[in-house]
Symmetry: none
Subunit: 257 residues, 2 copies
């Protein structure tokens, strides 16, 4: 790889630290918030916090790996003999990406059978998407990177289809107060997740090695924060609103007796 400038190195270093702080703080926010939602939404918040917890752990490791991979000699960034471990990201995604889809399904509070079948199908598709992307990330050749990246797009597009067409009816059946937020959560999933292949392919087509590395690392970091922490805040808000809607409905039913 071409040599990173100190500015590029520092930007990536600080982005990793920022991601760790955000994801760790988000984890505690979701778990503390469990006490404020109705029982049927507690599991959704538990998993929302698990996702950010797992990601915070991996950003801690990524930060350490990045620190160890470079050193400053005479004011220039020089690689040490410990290479930066890119696999942490894919290990993280293998765990967190299926869980992200499961938390969206859980907060929708569908029937038990629908929850199980949709969560299983979306979870497996997400794991397949990540597993196909990794050989592309570490491919020696550009054509290999294109091949695996393109294969990974197949489960990705299937997930998009499931979220929009498959879940369309389920979104309509959400309480009015929460419907807009559930819809927004679907869009954030698509928007943030599209960012990953964009970063992946942008790094393939553009720029020199050091700039490509900077785009990949900072781009994935921003996408992780949006897809996990910001998405989690939406899940939390949906759970709180649906809890409020349920207790208003109960109070009205009690008053009508």
């Amino acid at each position: 790889m071409e040599q990173l400038s100190i500015g590029q190195y520092d930007l990536i270093y600080n982005a990793f630290s920022f991601a760790f702080a955000t994801l760790a703080a988000a984890t505690l926010f979701f778990w503390l918030g469990r006490s404020q939602v109705a029982p049927q939404y507690k599991t959704a918040l538990t998993i929302t916090g698990l996702v950010t917890f797992i990601a915070a752990y991996h950003y801690f490791r990524i930060f350490e790996s990045w620190s160890d991979a470079y050193t400053i000699v005479d004011g220039a960034i020089v690689a040490t003999d410990k290479p930066f471990n890119d696999a942490y990201r894919y290990v993280d995604w293998l765990l967190t990406v299926p869980l992200l889809l499961i938390e969206l399904i859980l907060v929708m509070n569908l029937s038990r059978s629908e929850t199980v079948s949709r969560a299983t199908r979306l979870g497996l598709l997400a794991a397949l998407m990540v597993a196909l992307g990794y050989p592309g990330e570490v491919a020696e050749t550009t054509s290999g990177a294109w091949l695996w990246g393109s294969l990974s797009m197949i489960p990705f597009l299937w997930i998009v289809y499931e979220l929009f067409v498959g879940l369309g009816k389920a979104v309509e059946s959400q309480p009015a107060d929460a419907r807009g937020l559930v819809n927004l959560a679907r869009w954030v999933t698509i928007g943030a997740w599209t960012f990953y292949p964009v970063v992946y392919f942008a790094a393939l087509v553009g720029a020199d090695g050091a700039m490509a590395e900077t785009v990949i690392q900072v781009g994935y970091t921003i996408a992780d924060i949006i897809a996990k922490a910001a998405f989690g805040v939406l899940i939390y808000m949906i759970a709180v609103r649906k809890t409020g809607a349920a207790s208003t409905a109960n109070a009205a039913a009690a008053a009508a007796k």
Copy 2:
């Protein structure tokens, strides 16, 4: 930078350790206190603790970075080849400063739409203020530092206006018991936050490099402790008083039946 004296180095070192201890302890205080306030104030205390949690994390990193950045040779402080990472502060502020304004809005318990619109506007202004300050902090030239610092003052003054004029009516509608504290929290925000530009510009106009560094590091540390931990204690007291006022009102209503 001119050489730091051992006294200056130690003062900064101990200030960072003090800040970590204070912010970590404050975090636990706020989260343990969640069980003592009414449900509508729990999120405010969750976020109050998140702010000090994020800041404690960053002071831990700042402390480590400071330790690594200098060494003692023949009784004198000498910089190592690992530069002190000033960016941690700005990364911290980018997260915590919007959250600080949001915790003040949340503890006021306004209508949902007013909470969302005010929290969004104040949060974005705060993030903009921090983002404009950073290029000034790392500027190579004094004129660059003045330019960015001055630009950062625009959102700052807008926030001050929002807190005083925009929130004026909302403060009047607080329970009598809590109104004084809410008002004080506004003043602490203005007072502590004014400290940051004062430190920033004081370091620009005055003193040699080592003294400027000491003023900046110790000044920002004191401002962080007041703006986050001491301000958080006010938020906690407001939540406790309003919980008391609500239960007194409920008891009176029950007695009148």
